[in-house]
Symmetry: C2
Subunit: 313 residues, 2 copies
């Protein structure tokens, strides 16, 4: 099933959203044969207009591909693509033995472990490979991948990882640790965004100039990657989504569920989750995650900077 | 009262702890005349053995100094030094008119504002000048100062700030904004330490190797200045205090009190405060602030790395 002319795998990319589209383009640019898959005709057309091949149904990938990248939103979508909707018509039963599933979604480590066992029973390889870096790094093939899986899975994935990632962290020889490390990153990322919003709200409420505050904090011990990256959205009043509020509602709920499984209380992540949930409850779920600051505007009388220009909402 | 031979101010440094001692040494090294003040005979002896002058009572500074630096722990100590213990025998009534008080403690912005008004009424200048950078930067004269005050206060403070600081942020022309910006920094610093501890606890509890996790996170969007700086203490099992748990109990309570004054709910800082309070309740108040991770060990069955060697506790 490999591309006979090159010996390289043929890759199916399931999910042509911001991340999946970037990955599909990076693989194609690197000379790999790629088939995109998305229920959205508009997404398929975008990739097709660039010369890409597309299918609407994941099952159509099975006869053509020996590597499947799952770049979908959550564990339910992963399970649905692989195992069908209770009708056992998923990809896992259709792929040729020895094919590789690269699972890129943020899922609970327990889900990644279960998935690995089920795919192994189906005669398939799996790389647990959540991704980090956002749409920009996906587009340039410079993602970070937090990966775990067997040496065979890593070996088969190598040309694909080379094309899509600047950094591949090898975190273990079974599925699970990749998702665990991604979950720790999402814990911190979510808490830091909520903390950045809360701290900016405090500063603005005390009458401090937002840009002066940003200058000082980014040079001080209170800085974080997220503070530095997201606070400019607040200062510009620009909440167009690069990564949406509802992503952190989802990911911090995975943190919550995992803490529940492990009986590990995590009150700091829990409070951040409540703030994202409140933002989503205000109807802001599809705005940029920095819009969590609007919870503080609504509840604490904080005056936020207005949008700079009409292109920002 | 200035040093007649140089025209430079004579500086009294109240509080010869880790920060005050470093500042006193930096001022002396820069050629300023310095008188240290501490109730601890041991601290005075340390500075005297290096050729420094010391007094035990702050009132003894009044006839000799025209700049007073307050490098004490909290607002109560600031008030006690300046206004006495209800007996009106504080420095504020004893200093010559036009003398300058540089207030370096982390206090509520409302305290800094009140202080500025009372000192103004006493005919004194005040610079609201909380410091950041830790004992190491204090020792080398490379602190960050978050400063606000009148142009006259800044002018008189200039040679002192030159000697003690690498960076002076000018945040306003009255006392208050300096303390406000410091408070925002402490909000973030405290939340980020608690979040780092909680995230490491999650990772360790899931069976991830701590050093591998540190390597990945410090290269990822979940990174913070505090994660990078404090997690090595956890990995080394070394909780000797560089900055103590009780400092964040104090500072996050100032955040809490300020939120109460402003009616601004800050649940993320509040949850971090509770974790530092729990650590203090476990008897860890004087350990390094990274010891907040022991709350997770105690409540979530997280196995923490042991100390590397016998010099670590």
């Amino acid at each position: 099933m490999s591309d006979a002319s090159s010996g390289l795998p043929v890759c199916g990319v399931v999910g042509l959203g911001a991340m999946g589209m970037g990955i599909a383009r990076s693989l194609k640019r690197a000379g790999l044969e790629v088939v995109g898959c998305d229920v959205s005709a508009a997404s398929r057309k975008t990739f097709e207009d660039e010369g890409g091949q597309c299918v609407a149904e994941a099952s159509a990938l099975a006869p053509r591909c020996d590597v499947i990248l799952l770049v979908v939103v959550n564990a339910d979508q992963v399970m649905s693509v692989l195992f069908g909707d209770g009708k056992d018509d998923g990809l896992a039963t259709q792929l040729a033995a020895g094919s590789l599933v690269i699972q890129c979604a943020t899922v609970a480590p327990s889900v990644a472990e279960t998935l690995g066992q089920r795919l192994d029973q189906a005669g398939l390889l799996m790389l647990d490979a959540p991704i980090s870096g956002g749409a920009a790094k996906a587009a340039t093939g410079e993602l970070s991948v937090m990966a775990s899986g067997t040496p065979q899975a890593f070996a088969k994935a190598a040309p694909v990882l080379d094309a899509m990632a600047a950094t591949v962290h090898h975190l273990g020889d079974v599925p699970g640790p990749g998702s665990s490390v991604k979950l720790v990153n999402q814990h911190l990322a979510g808490v830091h965004i909520a903390a950045a919003a809360e701290a900016m709200a405090l500063g603005l409420r005390m009458g401090i100039d937002g840009r002066a505050l940003y200058r000082v904090i980014t040079q001080s011990a209170g800085n974080s990657w997220m503070f530095e990256n997201r606070v400019p959205h607040i200062l510009d009043g620009d909440y167009r989504p690069l990564s949406a509020v509802d992503i952190f509602v989802k990911d911090l709920n995975i943190v919550h569920d995992t803490g529940r499984e492990l009986r590990l209380a995590m009150p700091v992540a829990s409070s951040a989750l409540q703030q994202f949930t409140a933002a989503s409850g205000m109807g802001l779920g599809r705005e940029d995650d920095s819009a969590v600051v609007k919870v503080y505007a609504a509840t604490g009388g904080v005056a936020l900077p207005a949008a700079n220009d009409e292109s920002a909402q």
